[in-house]
Amino acid sequence: MAKFQSLQEAVAENLRDGDTVAFEGFTHLIPHAAAHEVIRQGRKDLTLIRMTPDIIYDQMIGMGLARKVIFSYAGNPGVGLLRRMRDAIENSWPRSIETVEHSHAAMANAYEAGAAGLPCAVFRGYRGAGLKEVNPAIKSVTCPFTGEELAAVPAHRPDVTFIHAQKASKRGEVLVEGIVGVQKEAVLSAKRAVVTVEEIVDDFDDLHPNLCILPHWTVTSIVHVPGGAHPSYTHGYYDRDNANYLEWDKISADRDLFAQWMKDNVLNVGPEVFAARVQGL
C-alpha cells in the first residue's frame, strides 16, 4: 500500500548508503527532483542503474554519490558527452567509479527479467560486439531446442527504483502516459519504489482501461512534486527543456562551475522550486 509522503521522508525511508538504485525514465519522465533530494541527503556508495545516465547521473556522479554505474549510453542525449561522468572515469574525480556497460537491448531485457522474477535475461544480442569482451556479466546460453547461442545478462533487481509519473489517484494508483520507457519494469523489478507525480487526483474511473497503471500495492511511496522531471519532460504537462540540456554541456565542463551550480540549484533549494522551473515550457 503506497504511502503519501514528502520527498524528504520518502528518500530518507527508502534509500540507504550502499544501495543499488535505478532512477528511470527514457528521456521522458526522468525523476530529477528525487535525485536532487538524494544529493541533498548525501547518500554514499550507491550503485546506479540507468539506461542513459543523462544529466541526472552526471550530477550524482559529480557530487561523489556513486560507487558503480550500470548503463548503456553515457551521453547527454542530442548534445554530446556527459562531462562529470567522463571526469570520474578518466580522472577519478571526485572519486573513481566502477562501470558496467551494456547495450540498450540488454538493459531493457534485464529490467524485464527482474520484473518477471527471473535470474537472468536471454536475448539475441552482442553478436560481434566488443562489450562482451570487457563486461564479464555478459555470458551466453545455448537454446535447448534449436542450439542457437543467445546472450544472457543478470536481471536487474534494484533495492529501490525512483520514477516520475503524470498522476496518482488518492488510493495510490499510478498513471504513466506517453513514452513509457522501462518505468513499469523498473518498478516491478525493485524491492521498493518511490514515485513522484505531477498531480494527485480523486480516482482513475474515467481513464482508458489499457493505460499504463501501476496498482497501489506495487508502489512504496508517492510524492507530489509538480515539475519534478525538469529538465526532462512530462507528456501532457510541459515540454523537454532542450535549452537547459544544451546549457548543461557548459556547466558540466568545469569543476568549479559545476560545484557552484549544484550549490545554487540543488543544495540550497528544495523540491518546491521545480514547479516554477517548468512554467512557460
Binding site: 528521456t27 542525449p77 578518466e90 524485464e112 560481434g128 513514452i179 520507457g181 519532460y233 532542450n242
Partner: protein, 259 residues
Amino acid sequence: MSGFTPTEMMTIAAARALSNDDVCFVGIGAPSAACNVARLTHAPDITLIYESGTIGTAPEVLPLSIGDGELCETAVSTVPVPEMFRYWLQGGRISIGFLGAAQLDRFGNINTTVIGDYNHPKVRLPGGGGAPEIATSCKEVYITMKQSTRGMVEKIDFYTSFGHGDGGDHRQRLGIDTKGPTLLITDLATWKPDPDTKEFTVVSMHPGVTREQVQETCGWKVRFADNVEETPPPSELELSTLRDLQARTERAHGGKKGV
C-alpha cells in the same frame, strides 16, 4: 541548383536511399535528418522508428533526443522500451537500421565507445545505446558520417557495433543472418561493400569532389569502383525541404528555456 554544402549533399544522398516501404530504425543526428527528409519528399509513407518506442513517427522538427515528446505525439503507436527491442527489433520487423559513427573501418564496423584502451580511455565516448543490436537485427544497415582521417580509420579502437568484421563471410561465421552495412554515405561520396570482400568501395562521388579529396579524408587506402558515378546534385525540393526542417528545428530547440 545553386550552392549547397557537403553536409547537405550527404543528408540528401542518404535520404534518397530510403523508400516508401521501408521500416527504418533511426539513429539520432545525421540519420534522423536524412530519414525525415525522405519522409517529407519521396517517401511519405516510410515508417520511422526511434528506440524510445515510437513507431511510425512523423515529427515536424528534428528531435534533439530519441525521446522527444513530439515523436510520441505523432507516432502510430508508442510501445515500452523492452517491447521495442524484443518484438520489433529482435523480432526481425525492421528493414533498415540507420546509424552514425564516431569511428568506422573499411568493413563497416563502428566504434562509438572509446578512443584508446577501454579500461584507460583517452576519450570516453557515449557508447552503443541501441546500436549493437540494431547492427545485427535489422535486415540491413546504412551508415552516414562526415569523412575525416580521425573518423575513418584503418583499425577502430573498439567494436561497438559489428559490421562485416574482418570482411568476407565473417557475419555468417558468427551466426548473423542479416546483411549488415550495405551503404555508406559521406559528405563526399556514396560507398557500397564489395560483394566478396565486403570492403566499402566508392560507387559515386558528389558533384565537384575529386578522388584525392576522398582519399585525403580517409584513413585507409580507398578502393574505387570500375565506374564511379557522379551523385546527382540536390534538387530544389530536396534542398528547401532540408533547410526548412533545420530552420524549424533551430527555432524549436533554441527558443524555449525554463528558469
